[in-house]
Amino acid sequence: MPEKKIRVLIAKPGLDGHDRGAKVIARALRDAGMEVIYTGLRQTPEMIASAAVQEDVNVIGLSILSGAHNTICPQIMKLLHEKGMDDVTVLVGGIIPEADIPALKQAGIAEIFLPGTSTQAIVDFIQSRTAHS
């Protein structure tokens, strides 16, 4: 029986248009055999949470480079909780000051990937995470 593909939503919340990272990750995860849905730019927390439900994803990757992560991430986590999506793994990639990382993890973000992370490290993390759930 073929293994069920891991489903990933790559989302760009906030107003910034820097989508290089989001696109590279989307493609790398697809090349690693995952089903990837890319939301496109400027998604509100509500749009991202709804898309996650609708697409029934295992993983959400948020790409944020604007500095708005402390506002956006907790909102998304709250909405996911309200929609009964507590089992989804939420990752953040982008420019995140180290001082902000503990609070983001506290809010339920599984991992934060900073600039310079190899795509393989992200693939490995997702595979190990989803293997246990």
Binding site: I10, G14, L15, D16, G17, H18, D19, R20, A22, K23, V24, A26, R27, A28, R30, V36, Y38, T39, G40, L41, R42, T44, S66, G67, A68, N70, T71, I72, I95, P97, E98, A99, L114, P115, G116, S118, T119, Q120
Partner: protein
Amino acid sequence: MSDQTKTKKSAAAVGPQVNPRQPSPEEKSWQANTLAPALAKSPERQAAFTTISGHPIRRLYTEADLAGWDPKTQLAHPGEPPYTRGIHATMHRGRLWTMRQFAGFGTAEDTNERFRYLLTHGQTGLSTAFDLPTLMGYDSDHPLSEGEVGKCGVAISSLADMEVLFDRIPLCDVTTSMTINSPAPVIWAMYLAVAEKQGADWKLISGTLQNDILKEYIAQKEYIYPPEPSMRLVVDTFEFAVKHTPKFNPISISGYHIREAGSTAIQELAFTLRDGMEYVEWALRRGMQIDDFAPQLSFFFNAHSDFFEEIAKYRAARRIWQRAMVERYAAKNPRTWALRFHTQTAGCSLTAQQPFNNVVRTALQALSAVLGGTQSLHTTSLDEAWALPTEFAATIALRTQQIIAHETGVTNTVDPLGGSYFVEALTNEVEAGAWDYVHKIDAMGGMVAAIERSYPQREIAEASYRYQQALDKKEKIMVGVNDFVSAEKPLEILQIDETVAHRQADRLRKLRADRSQAAVDRTLLALRKAAGTYTKAGQPSGSSNGQLSHENLMPHIYEAVKAYATLGEICDAMRTVFGTYEETAVT
């Protein structure tokens, strides 16, 4: 088109493909007697050597790589076409480049203080970074602005903010660059209004508006309206600038963001120059004369890490633009032919890891821009991968330029690399590669058409993915990232807190209470009417049927700004007529 055939032929003539390398007898003898034994004894480190863009580089460049190259027409002398050696006869011996550090954060008060700090430390021009709400045409108190106010730049929602931003900075004495695109006409109108209040003569003020919407669709993605009305606004600013502000560049046609999005050097060059040609063509269709407006067009390139490839790119840029102006648009004015450009060192090349190494990267990149003949330069700060620069980091970045200018001696002579076999051959190859792209985009019907079919977007995404794969496989090395990794202490960075958003919201509330609402309503209605064709009921009949009027919107925007209509209100007025743009995302 005859001019296209002509360009195609001359571009092909300089490419390496059509001139197979014919080594001289001496070079052949070197290959047999010196090179072969050396390789037999110790092979080279890699099978193939490429630039950071993946462009192949030979072991050795000799006169065989310049066969058919004519220094009289392809190199010439500085200040003369095709400007390969620079647009001025004396280049940096006569006048150094403008040291222009991009700055902006928090409220207008915060940025005004940083501006005045930089000016007292020897910076020679200002460059304004706006926050994301401003770049997207939203006021600081708009729901979508939450969490973003003052983070990536300064928050400017009305003329009141702009007055604070340039408080105690005489606009008649400084040159100001403003990185703003979709809302550029509005921000420019605010700047002009401040100049008027200061009593500065519009004919004498100088600076640059980025105003390059095409690269927004291609790379940076901060667009509001669809391409057609956006291009109309750009041409409106050209007309206004020619008439009222002859020393102000109404556009900075930008490759910087294209490169940051992951393009190669050749793609950066080609898409930027083809964007430039697109603006020229839209202005010509408006009825403007090439030599009236083109001298006010300026360019903006990235300085990435591959030293010689970057230098070749700047040299090729001048040559391509000169040829395009002459052959495609029959320009007669040498000021139209000469490509002037600003450079910013590559933010995307800087690492979060071991951030002090970034000072070294930036210095080398800046050196390539100087050797490539830049007119102005921003050196990126060492904390770029983390946040907006602290004052400490911003100062080192500025000092880096001063060291290049005053200590290295590279400014003592014009185009010191001119005539190098390698640099000239690479300049030819980069030029030929860029012309290939230009011809492809011509065949698609121009840049707007190419953007609509996601062509440049796809090419950039491909290149960026290839580079990431090369990093992952360690075919390319980033020191401190995929090799030479070491433990380090976290850096002190600039934090922008949410009090900025609250201060902005308070200011907007006060502004809306104090201004004349009747004047705001009147000027916004006049703007909407001028923007679209209106039915008798006063409803826009809109952009969907393509019946937009051709009235220049700048005077209307200026009136609305002076009535203290906010940025969001003015952009909304145009949104109701033009609609908004949604891209087809390419992954």
